[in-house]
């Protein structure tokens, strides 16, 4: 009896700890890593657990993983993990296909129904999809079907506003992106869906960039012609996790940082080759030089921040852009006059040089960590 109560209480504690699927999955990954390391240490004779200790540990881990599997449908084996990735890809492609189907269906029936019926269908479609999401969420612990229906709900919301604009001849406005972004983020946070988080970020980014353009008096659809519009919006996304805590959404901050910095680095890269696209009233080649320098600084900064705070994706992004900035510059300088074999040889040599630098940096970091 006491044992049963203790087990139940342990289960509850585990449930509280693993508040969401992501946390549970991280725990399972840690258990696998621990088991592998333990086996290695035992093999090397550095650690010896008694049979009883080993059995208790194995039982505990098995029980824990079973609980997580039941509650959150986490992947407890490598094979499951691979299949889950496949499921995510299929879920995304399926959602795209459904969204396209909804769009084509609307256009197909458009001329055959009266305005009130059009309105009912347009308003009803995202509502039905949202109810479908909630029902699916109850049926499954993994988010695959919920994610699929979520994207359909988002697409239905986009079609809803877009066709309202068409039916009532409403002047196109960038405010629609704010609504779509808010809806996508609402679903992303309600159901812990990363795909909708990305959709929401794209919409919000578009809205912020277009708003920047309209502050300068431009027609909102021209916002893409001034890449500088994207830079403040990108930084805003980047700093969101620093301002708003995300304890319950452990993966979300990574997406904000990565997407925000990617936006900034892309805008700077474009401006470093297209000075005419800048707001600045100075000669285009000066603007390009300035943004080239800024590109290197920001790429280096991303790498440093990534290493400093343990955000590997940001480090990878920074190093990728550092190389792109460098190579595009080489192309500008040398492609025209250098024989092609020499040009590519130079790129290869530069790659070796960068590898040496990165390796030294890595060695230094290892030294610091050991100290």
């Amino acid at each position: 009896m006491d044992e049963s109560i203790a087990q139940t209480s342990t289960k509850r504690a585990e449930s509280r700890e693993a508040r969401d699927r992501t946390v549970a999955q991280h725990r399972v990954d840690r258990i696998h890593a621990f088991q592998a390391e333990l086996a290695q240490l035992q093999g090397e004779g550095l650690l010896a657990l008694s049979v009883e200790q080993h059995q208790r540990l194995t039982d505990h881990h098995t029980q824990l993983m079973r609980t997580f599997e039941e509650q959150f449908d986490v992947d407890t084996t490598a094979g499951q993990k691979q299949l889950s990735l496949g499921l995510r890809i299929v879920s995304f492609l399926g959602a795209l296909a459904f969204a396209a189907s909804v769009l084509f269906f609307f256009y197909r029936i458009w001329g055959l129904i009266s305005t009130p019926v059009q309105l009912v269908i347009l308003i009803g479609a995202p509502l039905v999809a949202v109810v479908g999401m909630e029902w699916t969420k109850r049926q499954e612990q993994s988010p695959y079907f919920t994610s699929l229906i979520g994207l359909v709900a988002f697409a239905a919301c986009v079609i809803n506003l877009n066709l309202f604009g068409s039916i009532f001849n409403i002047t196109p406005s960038h405010n629609a992106f704010l609504v779509w972004g808010a809806f996508a983020l609402l679903l992303a946070y309600s159901y812990d869906l990363k795909l909708l988080l990305v959709a929401g970020m794209i919409c919000v980014l578009t809205y912020l960039s277009a708003t920047m353009g309209t502050w300068r008096g431009l027609y909102w659809l021209s916002f893409g012609e001034r890449p500088e519009n994207f830079i403040p919006a990108g930084f805003m996304l980047f700093f969101i996790p620093a301002v708003i805590p995300h304890q319950h959404y452990r993966d979300f901050p990574r997406y904000y940082r990565l997407f925000g910095m990617l936006t900034v680095l892309l805008a700077v890269l474009i401006l470093s080759h297209w000075g005419e696209g800048s707001y600045l009233r100075i000669a285009a080649h000066h603007i390009e030089t300035g943004y080239q320098l800024l590109g290197f600084v920001l790429a280096g900064l991303s790498m440093w921040i990534g290493i400093r705070w343990g955000w590997p994706a940001l480090t990878h992004l920074g190093s990728t852009f550092f190389v792109i900035d460098l190579y595009t510059k080489f192309y500008d300088w040398w492609w025209e006059w250098m024989p092609k074999y020499l040009f590519f040889l130079t790129l290869g040599l530069m790659a070796i040089l960068l590898m040496v630098i990165f390796k030294r940096l890595r060695a230094q970091l290892t030294k610091d960590a050991l100290a």
Binding site: L103, F104, F106, Y107, R108, I109, W110, G111, L112, I113, S114, T115, Q118, I123, P126, L127, V130, V131, M133, E134, W135, K137, R138, A153, C157, N160, L161, F164, S166, I167, F168, N169, I170, T171, P172, V179, A182, F183, L186, L187, S190, Y191, G213, G217, L218, Y219, W220, S222, E225, R226, E276, R281, A283, A284
Partner: protein, 295 residues
């Protein structure tokens, strides 16, 4: 079910739709800003409301209008109307403080992006008469060039054919003014049956170079209205039975020019449409009538 979560999502969608519909109701409330009757010349109809390919069963009218100085034969094509000069560009928000003689002037002004303004479209007024007259003058000038051996008779014949066609089929709406304040424009152009005031996109261009006759002209700035923001007007279901046959099965999506083949074939317009523009300067159809040419 997590009712709270569901309620928030549903509430968001309902609220969004309510705000959009309230905006539509506001646009259509009270006295309309414009009530105007146009013909097939100004609002040709086609299948499609921006949807994909021929599967779109919707119908849309396409608001057609002329810009002074913009005529379809290229050799008289100019950048924009004379009234859209530097002062007007400044009035709609362009910064034209850099002297045109500055070495960077071309670079600076050509980097300016489009702006959203209100445009005044006059229906069958003096601007239309001037536009048509200019076509006629172009024709006379072309004939003179044939006499001087600068142009072939074939070109002039084509030009004459074009002139006869536009006299019957071209849209008689002409862009005559732009501004940032719709109320001010309405005071200036008070007749709601003749002047449409709606949102449009304008561009700035820096002009310098030589005329056709090889004379230099000084650098100057010229604006142009590039498009009206609500050019495509949705046709509600109740008018489909009347208008569908005039589309001749053509979709605007597949081939824009093809959808208005009627304009290339000089025929009298076959229908007229009464349009209203409301408080937000957005249009809607209130009546469709067939004209004798429809039978």
């Amino acid at each position: 079910m997590n009712w709270r979560r569901l309620g928030v999502s549903v509430g968001f969608l309902v609220l969004t739709n309510a705000v959009v519909l309230a905006g539509v109701a506001y646009n259509r409330s009270g006295e309309p800003d414009v009530e105007i009757t146009l013909t097939e010349r100004e609002v040709p109809v086609s299948l499609g409301t921006g949807g994909p390919n021929d599967e779109d069963t919707g119908l849309a009218l396409h608001l057609r209008w002329q810009s002074p100085n913009m005529r379809w034969h290229s050799f008289q094509h100019e950048s924009g109307p004379a009234w859209f000069d530097q002062a007007k560009l400044e009035a709609v928000g362009y910064d034209c403080s850099l002297p045109l003689s500055d070495l960077d002037a071309a670079l600076y002004y050509n980097r300016q992006l489009p702006r959203e303004v209100y445009v005044v479209l006059e229906y069958e007024g003096q601007a239309w008469a001037d536009w048509l007259k200019a076509w006629g003058e172009d024709l006379l000038s072309a004939s003179a060039k044939v006499a001087a051996g600068q142009l072939s008779q074939q070109n002039v014949d084509k030009h004459r054919e074009g002139y006869e066609r536009v006299s019957i089929t071209a849209a008689r709406l002409v862009a005559i003014d732009v501004g940032k304040d719709a109320v001010q424009l309405r005071q200036q152009y008070p007749e709601p049956h003749r002047f449409i005031i709606t949102r449009a996109q304008v561009r700035l261009a820096f002009k310098e170079g030589k005329t056709e006759s090889g004379e230099d002209y000084p650098p100057h700035l010229r604006g142009s209205v590039t498009h009206v923001l609500t050019e495509e007007i949705h046709v509600p279901y109740e008018w489909h039975s009347v208008l569908t046959r005039f589309t001749e099965g053509r979709s605007s999506y597949k081939n824009f020019q093809n959808s208005f083949a009627w304009q290339g074939d000089p025929k009298e317009p076959r229908y007229e449409i009464t349009l209203r523009y409301g408080k937000r300067h957005e249009p809607w159809i209130t009546a469709v009538r067939l004209l004798p040419a429809a039978s």
